[in-house]
Symmetry: C2
Subunit: 135 residues, 2 copies
């Protein structure tokens, strides 16, 4: 299966779209939905989640829509992912708050914690600006 949910996939694409329009205008959900191939209703839900997470802000009324809350270089993939699907953990035992009795000497957990660090680092290092620049 996929590590990223469809939700998150849609959200990342819509956030890229908003990043491309940053400081120009609010983009309506209808427009975002059409351009990024997401159903209108579902796009509404996703944007509401992104708003709760303080990544986008809404403009109501005609000519309304959504825009980023801050500069594209200050929003990371991790921000978007966490807003949509929470923390990504490699395994139960790589979650900070796990209390598996085999810790901390379980061989499986020792190795997986290493991958966990790689993944965390990856997502926190990539910003929306990087995405736009194909970095």
């Amino acid at each position: 299966m996929n590590i990223l949910r469809k939700n998150t996939d849609y959200a990342l694409r819509m956030m890229c779209n908003l990043a491309g329009n940053y400081r120009q205008r609010a983009v309506s959900v209808r427009m975002l939905a059409r351009q990024e191939d997401v159903s209108y209703q579902f796009a509404c839900k996703i944007l509401q989640k992104l708003q709760v997470a303080d990544l986008v802000e809404s403009v109501m009324g005609p000519a309304g829509g959504y825009r980023l809350c801050r500069e594209p270089e200050k929003i990371t993939m991790l921000d978007v992912i966490q807003a949509m699907q929470g923390n990504i953990t490699v395994n139960r035992c790589t979650d900070k708050y796990d209390n598996c009795p085999r810790q901390p000497n379980c061989p499986v957990s020792i190795v997986l914690r290493r991958l966990q660090r790689n993944v965390d680092e990856f997502f926190v290092k990539v910003t929306l600006k990087d995405l736009l620049n194909n970095k």
Copy 2:
């Protein structure tokens, strides 16, 4: 959510157990289940899957059980993961056979394919022997 399913987590632990007993004896499912905290019935299912994937072989009858098909250094985490939950893909678009029309220039996909390579490489490099040695 977790990248590795509970199934896979159980499987990895049981495989470590079998690796520790390699060339000594077949370990019964009852024993594996008790030592690794998995229900007996569920452990049976998991081992059957591992057998279909040619990672373990069964010995029927009294004093029977399971043993690894080959040396612990010749079985990777990827082998176990694929047997239990198939390929792990970062996103739809990092799957080899994906045909998303945005390919190959989608900014999201370009970045995620990089992570995909990291993850693949990680799992293929760690063997059961490494796990036992806490490498």
